[in-house]
């Protein structure tokens, strides 16, 4: 006996999102030559969470974060799970489009869209919104109006001055106190120390894996690395750590066996700009389908989450909280800051360190800060003699043809350059 049920809007959305996710996963899994076996964990994880909408965290307290600057160490130490809510779904982007100005950033639209449809497999109990870019800061209030509990976390937009360091330290201290109250959990020295070490270990593992990409025979493609880092947004940290341990070991073996996922001629790319967030891995996939390989990145959905580890001199709560604060502000290369010498230095350092042939810079149409910084980064790269391609993209599945042509042409020119050298 078959019963016909009318699909609720939520179910329809979920169906659309599942389709979106499945299509990208399909590509990631099958369009490339042998990914490491340990990647299975991540393919499976994304399928469970984004296609089957499985909840991972049960009834643990969940703290949603709107940006990278919210200290996850503190959230872990308060026995809660941090969930980064930056969103990459076109389905949600379209929902958000009705609520925000048409020229807004697709990432922000998609994030707001998800709240509007109140459609979470793991629903956050409280949302932390750091005042980073204008669009993110303002969408905090919009989300609050939808009935979610939102906590604005003040974040300075210059980072060179000592005042900004002090200001941000105060802000983090306040956040720690307020969140502890909100979750009704006391912060202890031991728990905070453990949390720092745990997150530190995750970072350490990421680096262990990441530096293997410096080899001429790179053991892992950029698209897989993006999945690994994206998983850190929402996965149980213990499971993530275990999976990355296995992956790093396998990749180490691959380097020894000289197994490479790209050919010798494949140009090596450093990726920078607006963060690719699953399933919007459009640009990384296009790059690697054009026979180039992403060997390093400078984005807040990947590398930037794992840089800048916390160092503490005396393991007292205050000292730990201050040290944590510094790591999130001082090393951050987000374009929302007034100046950004640090970002340019970092990209150049990555190019040098990972022996890259060129840089690809993606800015989401509507992400003003990345668009505005484009010129200075281009100039810096030109000065250093590093070829760079600038792309403006959105979440829509159309326009792929034009993007493909530009990326292929760029990759081709890098190949020619490589041949001549």
């Amino acid at each position: 006996m078959t019963e016909h049920k009318i699909e609720t809007p939520k179910e329809r959305q979920n169906r659309h999102k599942a389709m979106e996710a499945a299509a990208v996963l399909e590509k990631i899994k099958h369009d490339f030559k042998e990914p490491p076996k340990a990647m299975e964990y991540f393919y499976d994880l994304f399928e469970r969470v984004h296609c089957k909408h499985e909840a991972l965290h049960g009834d643990k307290a969940k703290v949603g974060t709107m940006c990278i600057q919210v200290p996850s160490e503190i959230i872990h130490a308060l026995d809660a799970v941090p969930l980064r809510l930056c969103n990459g779904f076109y389905t949600d982007d379209e929902i958000g489009s009705d609520l925000l100005p048409s020229k807004s950033c697709p990432l922000v639209k998609a994030t707001v869209g998800q709240f509007a449809s109140n459609n979470f497999s793991d629903k956050p109990d409280i949302v932390i919104s750091p005042t980073t870019c204008d669009q993110k800061a303002k969408s905090g209030a919009i989300i609050e109006n939808m009935g979610f509990e939102v906590y604005d976390m003040e974040f300075p937009r210059t980072k060179e001055s000592h005042e900004s360091r002090e200001y941000w330290r105060r802000s983090v201290r306040k956040f720690t106190k307020d969140l502890s109250q909100n979750l009704n959990t006391k912060l202890s020295k031991k728990k905070l120390k453990d949390a720092i070490k745990k997150v530190g270990y995750a970072q350490h593992l990421y680096h262990k894996l990441n530096i293997l990409r410096k080899n001429n025979n790179s053991p892992i493609l950029g698209k897989d690395m993006f999945l690994v880092t994206n998983a850190f947004f929402f996965d149980k940290i213990d499971n993530w750590v275990e999976a990355v341990e296995a992956l790093a070991n396998e990749c180490e073996q691959r380097v020894k066996d000289e197994i490479s996922v790209a050919s010798k001629r494949s140009p090596r790319i450093v990726y920078t700009g607006s963060p690719p967030i699953f399933p919007n891995l459009k640009i990384p996939l296009l790059i690697e389908l054009s026979d180039a390989i992403i060997v390093a990145d400078e984005t807040c959905s990947s590398n930037r989450m794992f840089n800048d580890m916390v160092s503490v001199d005396e393991w007292f709560v205050n000292d730990m909280v201050d040290s944590i604060a510094d790591r999130y502000l001082k090393g951050c290369t987000c374009p929302i800051f007034t100046k950004n010498e640090d970002r340019k230095r970092r990209i150049l350092d990555l190019v040098r360190d990972y022996k890259a042939d060129g840089v690809i810079y993606q800015a989401f149409a509507g992400c003003q800060v990345y668009e505005m910084e484009q010129k200075s980064v281009l100039e810096a790269m030109e000065k250093a003699g590093v070829p760079i391609l600038y792309l403006e993209t959105d979440y829509s599945p159309s326009h792929l043809g034009q993007l493909t042509t530009r990326i292929e042409a760029f990759v081709e020119s890098l190949k020619n350059r490589k041949r001549r050298q």
Partner: protein, 326 residues
């Protein structure tokens, strides 16, 4: 070679430093008992009022020498002054300010007081930036006192009790001899008004030294004229604290562990020589830097100790995870 290098870069410098400091402490404070004598030109506060000193703080002979009448001071007879100074320079030039971080008994004592505070679970305090900028100048005033007061005596402008004016107010004079059971310095000198004022100040500074370094890491070093004197010559030293700005992410980890609150260590990505006048060359910053080669200690342009990701993770115990079930 690579093995040795990895071993050094992964080393727990805290433990290494603790033992080295202890060794130097014994040499300098008790050296006399073992007939150790490293001379009178030691570039740290290894106090000459200690009867068993194994090598004397350069400031004590310096002040006596400078207090000679001018014509004597600039005559051939004062060749010994020159020799003393050259010896000081030679000592200093090899190790640079690492003398402060690893050898100075007065510095070591402050670290022990810090250790005591840590054991008691009390947090350290820091200066705010404006306080820092103002206070750091004091050490140059102190240095002026070291040099000008005895010269004033030599020129007949000041009374004889100004001869070792700085020593009178230096906490080293009262504290160091205690370690060999000598309490004779713990008294006020009532012979003249100046002497009384100076010895009273000495008592006050000693009290400040003990209390200050309990709450503030390396409290006294911040005001130390020896540190100011070092800085004048540190550019020529063989041991160097170097930074490669390109590799630095400005994360601030080094600043966080720096006892001397040196901001440049994290924020300056232009200088290659990153040794600042307050620095005690403890190398804690290098140990706390998570970026490969961003900070390193060089001797004659050879990397002796450099920051590495692996070394960082090891020292912070982030290279492994104690498995717990939750």
């Amino acid at each position: 070679m690579k093995k040795i290098r990895d071993f050094i870069n992964n080393a727990d410098i805290r433990r290494f430093r603790f033992w080295l400091q202890l060794l130097f402490f014994v040499i300098f404070i008790y050296g006399g008992y073992f007939a150790i004598n490293l001379g009178n030109s030691i570039p740290v506060f290894s106090c000459g009022y200690d009867k068993a000193v194994g090598g004397m703080c350069y400031f004590l002979p310096l002040q006596h020498q400078l207090a000679r009448p001018l014509d004597v001071l600039f005559s051939v007879a004062s060749i010994s002054v020159l020799i003393g100074f050259v010896t000081f320079l030679l000592w200093f030039i090899i190790f640079n300010k690492a003398w402060c971080g690893y050898a100075c008994p007065l510095g070591t004592m402050q670290d022990w007081i810090t250790g005591l505070r840590k054991k008691m679970g009390i947090r350290y305090s820091t200066y705010t930036q404006p306080q820092f900028d103002k206070l750091k100048k004091i050490k140059y005033i102190m240095l002026a006192l070291v040099i000008l007061a005895p010269m004033g005596v030599g020129m007949g402008l000041l009374g004889g009790e100004w001869r070792t004016a700085f020593c009178e107010i230096c906490p080293g004079r009262m504290i160091t001899p205690l370690f060999v059971g000598d309490v004779s310095q713990w008294s006020l000198d009532f012979s003249t008004k100046t002497a009384m004022i100076l010895t009273t100040l000495g008592l006050i500074f000693t009290g400040l030294f003990l209390i200050g370094s309990f709450f503030k890491k390396r409290f006294f070093c911040f005001f130390c004229p020896m540190s100011a004197m070092h800085y004048i010559f540190s550019d020529g030293a063989l041991l160097k604290l170097k930074k490669e700005g390109d590799k630095c992410t400005k994360c601030g980890d080094c600043y966080n562990v720096c006892d001397m609150q040196i901001k440049d260590i994290a924020d300056d990505v232009k200088s290659t020589n990153i040794l600042r006048d307050d620095c005690i060359f403890c190398m804690k910053c290098v140990a706390a830097c998570p970026e490969d080669d961003a900070l390193h200690v060089d001797i004659l342009n050879m990397k002796l100790f450099t920051s590495t990701k692996g070394g960082f993770a090891k020292r912070m115990e982030m290279d492994r995870l104690e498995k717990k079930n939750d």
